[in-house]
Structures are given as C-alpha cells and as structure tokens.
Symmetry: C3
Subunit: 161 residues, 3 copies
Amino acid sequence: MLAMGVSLDARIAIEDLYATYVALLDARDYDPWIELFVEDCVYQVKARENEERGFPLAALAFESKGMLRDRIFGITNTLFHEPYYQRHLVTNFRIRVDERAGYRVDANYLVCRTKAGELTEVYNTGRFRDRVVELDGAFFFAEKRAIYDSELIPNSLIYPI
Amino acid sequence: MLAMGVSLDARIAIEDLYATYVALLDARDYDPWIELFVEDCVYQVKARENEERGFPLAALAFESKGMLRDRIFGITNTLFHEPYYQRHLVTNFRIRVDERAGYRVDANYLVCRTKAGELTEVYNTGRFRDRVVELDGAFFFAEKRAIYDSELIPNSLIYPI
Amino acid sequence: MLAMGVSLDARIAIEDLYATYVALLDARDYDPWIELFVEDCVYQVKARENEERGFPLAALAFESKGMLRDRIFGITNTLFHEPYYQRHLVTNFRIRVDERAGYRVDANYLVCRTKAGELTEVYNTGRFRDRVVELDGAFFFAEKRAIYDSELIPNSLIYPI
C-alpha cells in the first residue's frame, strides 16, 4: 500500500532506468541515452511557475523521439555553445502504477554544472514528473517532464536536463 | 546483518515516507505533510556544533504535532516573510531497528532554495537523525531532527527542513 | 537483466556500504571508515579531463590501506589546514557483477563544504567508479575512484572524497 502497488522488480528496474539516464547524460553519451525513450515520447523542461499556474509555456518541448534526436544533433554538430559538464542527482522516487499508462514516477533532481576552468555550481533543481512504460520486459520513458524551480537558468539551457 | 535487521518491506515503506515528506514539503502542501508525524512528535533543527558539544540550543524545537501545526499556521497566515522554493535531496539512508522505539533512521540531506527572480542556491545541508514508528501498517515520524552543518543560515529559517 | 545480475541482498548490502561510508566520512570518524577498505585497496581522486584522455595524473592516489591510513594520520595529526565539514550525497547507483572482481559500482556524488562561520557551498561533484568485494558475507571497497568534474578544487583537497 505504501509501496503504492508497485512490484519490487518494477521498482528496481525503474530506479535502474534513472541511473542509466543520468550516467549517459552526464557522460554526454547521447546515442544510447535517446534509446531510453519510446518513439512517441514527450520531453519537456518547464518552469514551476508556469506548471502551477497551468500555463503551457515550456523552455523545451519535444513531442517525439525524432524531435529529441534533432536537438541532440544540434548540440553535437551545429549549435554554437560553450560546453559544460553536467552532474545529476535524482532522489526520493515516488512510483505509482497507472493502469492505462504504465508508471507515474516523480523524483527530485539537482543538476550541477562545471564550465572549463571554473568551479562547480548549482545549475538547476526541480522535480521530474515522468511516465515510464514497460515494453517486452524493458523500461522506457514515455514522458519526461522536468519542472524546475528557478525562472532563471544561468545562460541558456543547452543540454537536456 | 548489513541490512541491520530491517525487513525489506520496512525499508521500502520508510524510504517512501521520506519521498512523500520531501514531495509535500517542497510543494508547500502542509496539511498532508503534518499528517506524516505522530501526535507527540519531536521536531528539531539544530546546528551540528551544538549537537556535537551536547548543547541543547536549537534553531527550531517543537515537541508536539500541535506546535508544528502552529508553526505552519504562522508561515501560511501571519509570519511576514519573502517566500522561496525549497528542493530537498535526502540520500544514503541508514535504518536500524530499535526494539523499544521503532526505527532509527539517519540520512544526509541537501536543501536548495530559489527566491523569485533569483538563481537557485545551496541553502542548508546536514543529517537527519530521525525515529520512525509503524502504526497499523503505516509509517510516521516520531522524531525528526535536522542537524545542519553551517552555523549560518541564509536570512532566517522560515519553512521546515 | 535490468538489475544486471545483482541479487537484491547484494544490492542492499552495497548501498548500505555507501551509506556507512558517507556517514563516517562526514562525521570525520576515520578509524571505522578505513575499515571499509580491503588491505590492498586502490583509492584515487582524479579529474574527469585526465580520466577521459587516459592521463594517469591524479590529485590523490593511494595503493594500499596503509597509504590511506598515513593520509588520515596526516590530516588528524600533522597536516596544517583550516578544518571544514563535508556533506556527501551519493545517488543513482549502477551495480554490475564482475565475475573475477566482485562488483563494479558507479554512482554520482556531490560533496558540499562548510567552513566555520561561512555558508555551505558546492565543493566537488563527480562520479565514483568503484569496485566492491564480498568477504565472509561483508562488503568492502577494493577500489574507490572519485572522478571529479572541475579541474579547480576550492583551496586544496584535504579530506577524502
């Protein structure tokens, strides 16, 4: 009941999915990272203010794996930017079964950023409000929504959160 | 033995209790948040220096759910303050069975703070030294003690940690 | 499969090992902390740049428990330094069985630092790339390698990460 109807196997598999997500993302290993999403995935990065007031405006909003792939192509090939390292900490998972839609997964996150020759700093904090689905025994992100606390993001948001 | 005598079910239920705690607290959803405590709970926020030297002085010290409720009433109704968002990360749980007193739960925590129109910053770090009890199959905080690392807290401490 | 062949018992024991590691290290309780390592352990703290380019240079590199013990003796007895508190958050574990060598364990970490009379700040972030072994039912670090994101470390690195 407290475990909200989620089997232990699903729980472990979902936490592993997040561990893989942050490992690949922080290593900028984008090709396998994209494969953690289903084809018709939703990916959003949105300010908490907008989320809570019901405003649709998001800093990033992709509605398919193809759009996400385009963004990654932009980052790695064409988009001019000063590179930085990211380091994610994702904690305190709440996992609920959604009969029609897999699993609803919420978790707090912190992303630190390190630019070349600079100290590490807090970059972005917030809450993931995700949906995870199981396909043939493996788990994937159907929706990933990062709802961030600060309206300000240092410089612009280049890499996925 | 390494698992310190704690059943897997209790472990999951206790980690879920913390996940619920931070979700509700960071969402400022105080009414269900208070219901995570037992009636005669202890809630303290105390500097590590004072804790280690055995000094009783605490930044916040409440000795019942009623006192905690008063504080929340103050925050939400009367206490003049500049609002800010909190984001908790609670990690690396150590859970031990205490035959007379439920479970002793320690964990490291980090709270980030975001003020309107400002960047997110580290607000408070420390260690929870808590006691959790099971009542009719549900888990509650009997003691929550946040032992924080810095004698300085940016501005004053408004919201619970 | 997603759990990468790691039994639930091993998983719990390994996460407990890390919880004990950070609890003891942040409490500066070094004597039991050292006992979490095997005798011929490797302990390294190394910049991500050097790691990714295959350079051997590390900020700290110890090749036995004896060397680690010497370092701790230096910190607690002879090394002149301004003390500070550390607070570790270690999250998003990836654990894999390595038939010849126990378990390969990777995890993201954040260390915050608090100096006397100052605010808490982000000190160091990175990734542990560790090897853990089981001896007589207990788990120990055979290799602990902290690969950190910033080439800059505020002042010098005194305490272990």
